[in-house]
Structures are given as C-alpha cells and as structure tokens.
Subunit: 293 residues, 2 copies
C-alpha cells in the first residue's frame, strides 16, 4: 500500500507521530490545492469509524487528516475528561505536523473540540463544518440512559456496528437501510484496523459531555467570537444530540449556514453522503468571507 | 419588448388572463427543459417585488411564472382573508394556463399558500421551496405592532422601498448594504410597473395571517402529508416570521432540507441571491425522490 496512492479510508495506512509522551495514530490521504481538512471524530469512534463515502470524495481536492485523540484506537495516553483537554491534544498534533491553519470537520464530540480550538486559537481553522454537535451550554447531549436510547444499549443482540446503525440512523426503513449500507462501507477496511474503544473511553468522554452542558459565562456568548465561515449540519431526528443544538449553533454563530436533513438521525452525513460531500465540497471550495455558498 | 427575448423581471411584460370574473396579472419568462417555477409573493408584494437577482438566474433553466393574487397589483377581484381563499385563486390561475404540475417558490405569505395547495392537491407541486414562511399553527407571524417592528412603521422617513429595506434585512451594516442593493435592483424596472398595495390589501392579508396561526386539528400534523421534496430557507434574524417557524416546517415535513443564512432577516434569499439561486437551482434540477441535493 504505497502512501502516495492511498486516496481512501478503506486503504490509507495508519501513521503514528510522537509528541512528548504521547503517540498519536492518524491517517492522511488525498491531495489537491485546497487547505487540508482535519476530521475530528465522534464518541468512542476511531479512525475506522470514518465512512469512506464521506472522506474519500472530500480527499479529491485536498488532504484529509483523520485523528485519534489520546487514548483512542492506537493513540497512547489518557482520554481527557473535558473538551478542553481533548483540544490540547489536537493542538499538539497539528503543531507536530507543522500545520498553522487548516479546515476542520468536527462530528459530534469532534465538533465540540473544534469549537473549543476555534475559541482558543482563532486563526487555526479557516472554515469549519460542525455536524451533529452542540454548543457549550447545549442540552440533552448524549444521555444514553434516556428512554429513546437505553433499550438500544440494553439489547444484547445489538453490538458493535449493529448498535451503531440503530443509534446513528432514524427508525424508518429508509434510514435503517442507509445505516446498513454505512456499516457495510465501514467493514470494507479489513487490514490495519483500530481496536474498538472500551468502557473507560466512554466513561471519560461522557464526563466531557456533562461538563460541556454547563454554560461558561453567558450562555452561547462565546459563539459570537467565532467568525470563520461555518457550515452546521444535522439530521432532524437525532436522538444523541438533538437538532435544537444545531439551531442554537447556527443562530448564535455570526457566520454560519445551517443544513438539516430529513428522515435521519445523528449520522445524517453518512446517510446523505452524496449530498453532504457535494455541499461540504462547495462550502470548503469557497474563499468568500461569508459562510453562504 | 418581444416576449420571447424577455429573460428578466426587469423587462418581462406583464400579461393578463381572465378566469370568470377575475383578471389575473402575471409575468412568464425564461425557458429550459425543467418544469415551470411558480413564484408566490409576500405580504403586500406585487410582481415588481420579485428581485431580478433571484428570478433571472432561475429562469435560465425553466419558465418562471410570477403571479399577482386577486386584488394585488393589476389583478382584479377581492383580496381573500384566508390562505385557503388565496389558494383558490392560484388554482384557478394554473388551470387557466393548463398547468397540471409545476415547481413552486413560496415566499412568506406565498409559502403558506403553497402549503395549502400541496395539502389540497398533492400532485400539483413536484418540488417546493418555502422561504421565510410558517406552517399553519406557527407563531409570531407578521405581528407588525411588536416592539421590534412598530418603530419602522411609525417612522415617517421610512416609506416604500426604504421601509422594505429595514423590514427585510438585519440591522447590521452588511445586511443593510445588501438591502440597499436589493431595492436598487427592484428599481431597475422603470416601465409597465404595478401599483403598490394599499391598506385594504394589508388588512385582508393580516387577517389571513391571524387565521393561519390557529392550528387546524393536531398541530403540524398536516405537514406529515406533504411528501414532495421541499427546501426550507430562512434568515436567522427574521423578525417578520421568526426562524423557529422554519425549524418546525423542516422538522415536521417528512422530506425537507432546511438552509438558514446568517446575518439576515426575512429577505435572506435577496441578500444571498447568489447562494440562494445556486442552491435552489441544484435542488430544482434534482429528480431524486429525496429532498437531499
């Protein structure tokens, strides 16, 4: 698998870089004239949870960089219990790659880390795509014991990708069919795979969600400072991080376009991967100061 | 001005068609292989309130049909006091043109009429674009006496297009600048113009808004029946029909994509006319059963 020919998350080799005591696992593939796109992953997700139907079209015009935060997959170190702590690892990783600025796709947990970094280092991200995520002070973020979610975790028949399909897609036949296609795409990668996250990862990340639900000062006021063009995306039936959080994000961010998809949940970007990558590509290809594209 | 050469609302001649006792004023211009696009206008708006920066790009791939409902502009008849009554005039007009099916762009009041027709005659609209509008049972629809709007109406220095600029655009410099460009575009048409709507028109249309705020049965349940692909668009700072109404529309319609624009009010489609017409064109060009585009 020569690296120069890897243009898919099905085949891209996992790379490793050491920064101080921590070794980070990542993948980097694609090419083009556009700024690199850093992809920050969801709750318990590893490099292998990035759908090639999303990453690969985006990699046609730029490098795509997938990142395992500390303690995830084959990255060493301890999973932080705050978004801020996770953002420090992203910062260290980007510095080690000598990337001063890039675009970012933050999905779910990853979207929170992206917001934290955009606040702490305004020049870091040129353009942001925030999918299925919430602002600090958001509500109903990953309450896995609520009535609509607990039965999915309690069902012993739903493990691994089968559980992911139930969680990320709406109950309709059409959405579940899209979910089955999604997990089939994830399974296309057969070598150089990541270990799945265990209960310790989940516990630390859930602690970070609980902390993120507490507003830091005036609720949502920090969003007013994030000036870069931002595309906010969500499925209207997202049970993990309900769409109202995306409404808040797009109404408070001064320069954000919101797109919501019907008949879909947390994984709307995977369900509507053709539309999502077309829209995301058009958004990222723009050099306008405005988020409108 | 030969009709065959008219591809702009700056120059398209106004046409008239008689249906029973009513003569409807309309314009029809553009051409292409796509289904015609019927444009239904906002509160007190006439044919002359359609921004050529919105209509003309859309007319490159299809006929665009602008319509004055009964009692508006040079259409005769009485302005109905219900959305349902207005929708009957649209129905009669389309029948007189022998159009069984078309696409529709409903802006504000026009978006309510589009929803009513889609409910009453499901096959009429292939694809719908609903901008700055609300579902039946929506809230805070055109309450012109509320604190954020009353001063604009009370200010004698704000008449005509100057008032429209204040009402349709956000208070920011950037939005007001876009508003000035919008009214300059409306003023490009110098001949064959429509008379402005008077207080009787406003009174009847406001009565229709008040009626529309009352849910008809279970709130929003009617939206579940509207199956055609729909694109919902709004500015996040819309004071005339707040964006929460677009959230309801897109969350309840089974097949709708929502796009919201930052730094903009009721006239987001005019402020971001390049983005809006690009997105609307892509949406209308799709033959997918899904609204995702």
């Amino acid at each position: 698998m020569p690296e120069s020919n890897s243009v898919s998350n099905v085949t891209a080799p996992t790379r490793f870089i050491q920064v101080g005591p921590v070794t980070y696992a990542y993948r980097r593939f694609g090419s083009g004239s556009r700024p690199p796109l850093l992809c920050l992953q969801h709750f318990t997700g590893t490099l292998d949870n990035w759908d090639p139907a999303v990453t690969d079209p985006l990699a046609r015009e730029r490098e795509v960089i997938l990142f395992d935060n500390a303690g995830i997959g084959r990255s060493t170190g301890v999973v932080p219990e705050t978004i801020s702590g996770m953002s420090q690892h992203v910062k260290a990783f980007l510095e080690s790659l000598r990337l001063d600025s890039c675009d970012v796709l933050g999905f779910s947990l990853g979207g929170m880390i992206a917001q934290q970094l955009a606040k702490d280092q305004p020049s870091l991200f040129r353009r942001m795509i925030l999918v299925g995520t919430a602002p600090r002070g958001g509500e109903d973020i990953m309450h896995l014991n609520k009535p609509n979610l607990a039965p999915i975790f309690a069902n012993p028949a739903l493990q691994g990708y089968a559980r992911l399909q139930k969680l990320f897609f709406a109950p309709s036949d059409s959405s579940q069919t899209a979910g089955a296609a999604f997990v089939a795409r994830l399974a296309q990668r057969t070598q150089d795979r990541e270990p799945a996250a265990g209960p310790d990862v989940a516990k630390a990340q859930l602690a970070a969600f609980r902390d993120w639900e507490h507003a830091d000062g005036e609720r949502f006021a920090d969003l007013l400072k994030l000036r870069q063009p931002t595309l906010v995306v969500n499925g209207v039936h997202d049970e993990l991080i309900p769409v109202k959080n995306s409404y808040w994000l797009s109404a408070w961010l001064p320069n954000a376009v919101l797109m919501t998809y019907p008949d879909s949940g947390h994984g709307s970007l995977f369900q509507f991967h053709e539309s999502f990558t077309r829209q995301a590509s058009a958004f990222l290809a723009s050099d306008s100061e405005s988020a409108a594209f």
